[in-house]
Structure formats: C-alpha cells, structure tokens
C-alpha cells in the first residue's frame, strides 16, 4: 500500500479496509491479522497499526475477542452504513471539486449522467467483444 504522507496514515488504512469490507474482499466476521502483522504487511509503525484497530473498534467496524484477536463486524447493517458514508463522502468531494471549477449544479448533474451512460455503454461493448 502506498501512502500519502500528508494525511494521517491510520485514516488511510481504515478507508482501505472499509473499501475492502464493502467489496467483500474482507468477509464479515473475518479474523484480522495481529497489529504486528498488519504493521509488517503495510510497512507502517506498530503503534499506528494498533491505533487503526482501536479506531475501527470504536466505530463498530471490528471487535476484539479476548485472547483470539480482532474480528470484522458480523453486522450487515454496519456494512450498509459505511457504504452509504463512503458514497456520501465521494459525492461531497466531487461536488466541492466541481464547484471550484465553476460548474453550476445543472451542468454538474448533466456531466454526471453523461459519464454514467458512457461507462455503461463501454461496459456493454467490452462484454460483447469478449
């Protein structure tokens, strides 16, 4: 994993883990690596790794079983919630960026619809060519 050193590393890792939970790459109830293994895997500080689990625990994304380690939440609702949160964040970033470029709300929506349609036709073409 490559990091942007200007933003807190623990937040970057949490975002990545959230995305992995949403996409199903990390399953519900799955056991997570120990903090030391996580630190090694990502090439980060061990204290940052334990901060990641602490923070995720306080958000209800994972829980500790005494003597067994850290596990991802088993709640479907939780996954839905972080999915909505992340979508919300992405949309907010998009809107903010477009406003900075001077786009009106209508132009923004127009462009968005065009983009969605375009990527859908592209996907369809890719499938038919396979």
């Amino acid at each position: 994993m490559r990091f942007n050193n200007s933003t807190p590393i623990y937040l970057q890792v949490i975002d990545k883990l959230k995305a992995d939970i949403i996409s199903g790459r990390i399953g519900l109830g799955q056991k997570m690596p120990s903090t030391r293994d996580l630190a090694q895997e990502l090439g980060i500080n061990p204290n940052t790794a334990s901060r990641i689990y602490k923070e995720m625990e306080s958000q209800g994304l994972c829980f500790k079983k005494r003597g067994l380690g850290t596990f991802i939440t088993e709640s479907d609702k939780m996954v839905q919630k972080i999915k909505i949160d992340m979508a919300d964040q992405l949309t907010a970033d998009f809107v903010e960026g477009m406003k900075k470029l001077g786009f009106s709300s209508e132009a923004m929506v127009d462009l968005m619809i065009k983009k969605v349609n375009y990527s859908e036709t592209e996907e369809a073409e890719n499938e038919s060519s396979c």
């Binding site: 050193n5 200007s6 933003t7 590393i9 623990y10 030391r36 990502l42 090439g43 500080n45």
Partner: protein, 232 residues
C-alpha cells in the same frame, strides 16, 4: 512511559566547532524515533554519545537511569553508517564473530534472517552489493536484544527494494521493551514507520513531534515540514 534515554542540556564541541548545542531529549520504550536533519546537523554525534563512543562536553546523558559507562554500552545497539565489517570475512563468520562479541546476540535469529534477506552465508562481505551489505548490517543489529537501538543512516545508498526491507526490519524489531532511534535525511522513505520526528538543525532541536499528529494537525507530511524548517 518512562524514558530509557534522557539527554539534559547536552552540548558537544570539537575544538571550536559546536556540534550539539544544549540538547534536551527523552526517548521512551515502545516508540520509533526519526532523528532527521541534513548532513552536519548533529545526528551522528548525538548517536555516538548515547552509544558511548564520544564524550559530551557538558550536560547529562542517562541510559536506563545510569550515566554512560561500559554498562550502558551493553544496553545500546549502535549500527554505524560506515561499512565496518571486515571485507575478507564470510557472512557466516561475521555471525560467529557477533556471537562472540555480544552476549545478547542471537545467532539463530540472524541465520533465520539471512535467508529472508537473500543473503548467502558463504559469501564474503567484500562480495556483497551495497544493498546486501546494508541488509546484513541491519540484520546483525536487530539480532541483538537490547533496550535501545540506534541506526545511523540505514537507508543511505541503498536501492529501493533494500530500503523497504531495511525499513520493515527496523519496524519489526521495535517493541514495548525498546526504544528505536533512526537517523536519516530520506524523510519520505522513513516516515511511515515513525512515532515521532525529531528535527536537528545546526546542533539544536528544531522540532520534536508525533508523526501522525503532524499529519492530523498541520495536514502536512513530515517531509514537507522538514523542508520548511531547513529552508528558513
């Protein structure tokens, strides 16, 4: 956590040149410290004082509450930046040499690391590339068990893969029972493993802050802050 290394108003002068000017710093177990600054800022001098290789001119230096002595030297692992290993020795002989030199050296751990680091025990030190030499030096250091580790410029001159390996070795060696101090001017390479960043400028402490706190509060990388400090 109580500090395992304490420097109080430490100064060091070489004849008229001031290398360290009234440095006060604490290093606690369980943390990785980055000692950052350009060449000549005092990083190596500070490390050599803690390692007991240089004597400070004034102030006090305590390792585990004891002044610098042969006892404190046994508690400090110091990896110098120079290539100090005998070129004609085979890697396996270097390991045996370390076992004989240091009571706390685990030859089993070092041998285990050789394979992981793609080092051949039968090679002579002189046959190793710069990258492999850098890996060997760090492997030897982390195979000792001590409360204080000092790595002087461990990333210097290494290829990107070796840099990553060395960085991970250092992070892996860090634990609740030791303080790890790493000097470097390759800030961006090092900063993901740091707890704290200490910036030295002309022998004084210009900054001493948590790495994540810098990112949270200032929205900056340690490297960006480093550039600000040294440009002004």
């Amino acid at each position: 956590m109580k500090a395992v290394v304490e420097l109080n108003n430490v100064s060091k002068t070489y004849f008229k040149k001031v290398a360290l000017n009234q440095i006060t710093l604490n290093f606690a177990k369980g943390k990785i410290y980055g000692l950052l600054g350009p060449n000549g800022s005092g990083k190596t001098t500070l490390m050599k004082i803690v390692a007991g290789l240089h004597k400070h001119t004034s102030g006090s230096v305590l390792v585990d509450d004891q002044p610098i002595s042969y006892k404190s030297k046994a508690m400090v692992v110091f990896m110098p930046t120079e290539n100090y290993l005998y070129p004609s020795m085979k890697v396996k002989t270097v390991l045996q040499y370390f076992r004989d030199m240091y009571q706390d050296f685990s030859i089993a751990k070092a041998s285990g690391l050789l394979e992981k680091l793609e080092l051949n025990a039968e090679n002579k030190v002189s046959e190793l590339s710069t990258g492999l030499n850098g890996r060997l030096k760090v492997a030897l250091a982390v195979s000792r068990a001590a409360p204080v580790y000092l790595f002087d410029e461990p990333l210097n001159g290494l290829d990107p893969i070796s840099r990553k390996i060395v960085r991970n070795l250092i992070a892996e060696a860090a634990g609740d029972n030791n303080a790890v101090i790493v000097s470097s001017h390759l800030v961006s390479e090092l900063e993901p493993i740091l707890d704290r960043a200490i910036l030295l400028k002309d022998g004084s402490v210009a900054l001493n802050e948590g790495a994540e706190e810098i990112r949270i509060q200032k929205g900056k990388s340690v490297e960006e802050l480093y550039e600000e400090v040294y440009r002004s």
